[in-house]
């Protein structure tokens, strides 16, 4: 297709936390500075900046892209902001990718930030107004009960019990104990999840990721630049994204077909024929525990309805045959919406370079995948990384 090879050469992130003292632009600066320092680059080496951040209402700043620009390193540079709700993080990396793949720029910073603590009384108030204002808003929708409808459908179609799903929360929160930036790492049991407060059946407190403040950044470079910067470039092998109907009642909730479409696009580009065998480490989007399972199925990494069994059998554990969310995921590290997608890509970057420390999965993985999901729960974004 005439596209250039693009590598990830640097990565950085702030700690994810309930409430940061830093402003959003200060968070963006800290993550971006860390990413640049990690590959010994400066702003002079950067040609363009792609920023991702979710609803302006979280930070309480309209035109949040402009507000964050200087903290993202965009002073006097070509700059863009993109936004597909929860899918924004991986989507932003794709935006950065084609700025370099196209030949337009040799280097691009990808920066994602979210400061949800600004939003009062709760960020759910911002979600209230993303749904149809005439037919749905009168019912006061929030993401908890909207997702509860999807989770119930998924459980019912496949005959699952809550414990089949709770294992994901247990695994991810434990994995996060080894992540220095984690907000809600914990050593909990399936019983703890099942005994936690019911928010909207079948969703309980410990099924859900927290609201968070944080930022994460990565540095992308074209092949000839990447090889000068590092002897361990991690290549963006494939990208894919897809949107299903924005009217969420017009599609089948038990299976994320749009994630499959995005995954197929990325696999085709990466030349992956058998994803289950060729993807060695996975970071699917896990804002709720059932979403990890839902997404593993959409990503064609197992059969429909099979993901809970793989989890129960330990296949998705950090030392399992197909490690899933070795970072600790959104359930453990936290969920500053857009930044969490870059957190996942950074995890794959560190895993493939063998730099994940206590989180390192065994077997020297060569290919990994990060995926995000969101918007009106109908967008899938996929990036395949490889060495």
């Amino acid at each position: 297709m005439g596209m250039r090879k693009v590598a990830v050469v640097g990565a950085g992130m702030t700690k994810f936390m309930r409430r940061a003292q830093e402003t959003g632009r200060e968070l963006a600066y800290q993550a971006t500075k860390m990413a640049l320092d990690s590959c010994e680059m400066t702003l002079d080496d950067i040609d363009s900046v792609a920023l991702g951040t979710a609803p302006d209402a979280f930070d309480g700043v309209h035109m949040k892209g402009e507000y964050l620009s200087d903290g993202a390193g965009a002073w006097n540079k070509p700059y863009m902001r993109c936004y597909v709700g929860g899918g924004t993080g991986v989507f932003a990396a794709i935006q950065g990718w084609y700025q370099v793949a196209s030949g337009l720029f040799d280097t691009c910073l990808v920066v994602c930030e979210e400061k949800m603590s600004s939003c009062k009384p709760h960020p759910q108030g911002a979600f209230l107004t993303i749904f149809d204002h005439t037919t749905e808003r009168a019912l006061k929708p929030n993401l908890i009960w909207i997702f509860a409808l999807e989770m119930n459908r998924y459980m019912t179609v496949h005959g699952l019990e809550k414990k089949d799903i709770a294992r994901v929360a247990v695994k991810n929160k434990r994995n996060a104990l080894d992540h220095p930036c984690a907000q809600v790492a914990a050593d909990i049991t399936v019983e703890d999840v099942l005994n936690s407060e019911v928010l909207a059946w079948p969703v309980q407190r410990l099924d859900v990721s927290p609201t968070s403040d944080g930022a994460a950044s990565m540095v992308l470079a074209a092949e000839h630049v990447a090889k000068r910067i590092t002897d361990k470039p991690v290549w963006i092998k494939g990208v894919g994204w897809s949107l299903d109907t924005a009217y969420w009642t017009n599609r089948d909730l038990y299976y994320p077909k749009y994630v499959e479409s995005a995954a197929r696009m990325a696999y085709d580009m990466a030349g992956i024929k058998e994803p289950r065998k060729e993807i060695h480490v996975v970071e699917p989007y896990d804002p709720f525990d059932y979403k990890e399972l839902h997404h593993l199925e959409g990503l064609l990494l197992c059969e429909k309805g099979e993901a809970p069994r793989l989890t129960a059998d330990g296949v998705t554990a950090r030392d399992g045959d197909m490690p899933v969310c070795p970072s600790g995921g959104l359930l453990g590290v936290g969920n500053p919406i857009a930044a969490s997608g870059i957190m996942k890509l950074n995890e794959i970057f560190w895993q493939l370079r063998g730099e994940a420390g206590k989180r390192q999965v065994p077997g020297q993985p060569r290919t990994g995948l990060a995926q995000s999901w969101g918007d009106l729960m109908q967008v899938g974004c996929v990036v395949v990384l490889g060495i």
Binding site: Q21, K33, L43, L128
Partner: protein
């Protein structure tokens, strides 16, 4: 003119009234905290210096937006400056005539490459001009709350 006023038969159309019910609680940040505390506690204006770019940021920034150095050098700036540009506001946000016009000015502080936007108090609109010298007027210390409104505005020197 709003849509409702233009459509004579709009009463027949179905409408649904609602709002986006949010408030925001903003942290002022690492640099902002020090900036506002200095105004509140000591009645002084602080800036941060980037030695590499030879720039002084007011309001202070924790980093240089041009070279991305973390800025650790803080300086106290003179609480005075020069009117760089100004405007005289005669209408409120919703279009009503103001009882008293309000003068808003962008004031460059000596030694800083930026400056502060604030009200120009105790000046008559006809006397204001670009280039005039002004100084900061702080509220009395007891009334200060750690807000940019701890500064009442600028007045001519």
């Amino acid at each position: 003119m709003s849509l409702i006023e233009r459509l004579g038969t709009f009463g027949d159309a179905k409408v649904w009234y609602d709002n986006i019910p949010l408030e925001s609680e903003y942290t002022v940040g690492i640099a902002g905290e020090r900036f506002l505390r200095a105004i509140k506690d000591r009645g002084v204006i602080l800036g941060t210096v980037c030695p590499a770019c030879d720039l002084t940021y007011v309001p202070p920034s924790m980093y240089c937006e041009r070279c991305f150095t973390q800025l650790d050098e803080w300086v106290e700036l003179p609480a005075k400056g020069t009117v760089y540009t100004f405007t005289i506001v005669t209408r409120s946000l919703d279009g009503q005539a103001l009882d008293e016009p309000e003068i808003l000015a962008f004031v460059k502080l000596p030694g800083a490459h930026g400056g502060l936007v604030h009200r120009l108090t105790t000046a008559k609109p006809e006397d204001v001009e670009i280039g005039m010298e002004v100084e900061v007027v702080f509220k009395p210390q007891k009334e200060r709350e750690g807000s940019i409104l701890d500064i009442k505005g600028f007045k001519p020197t």
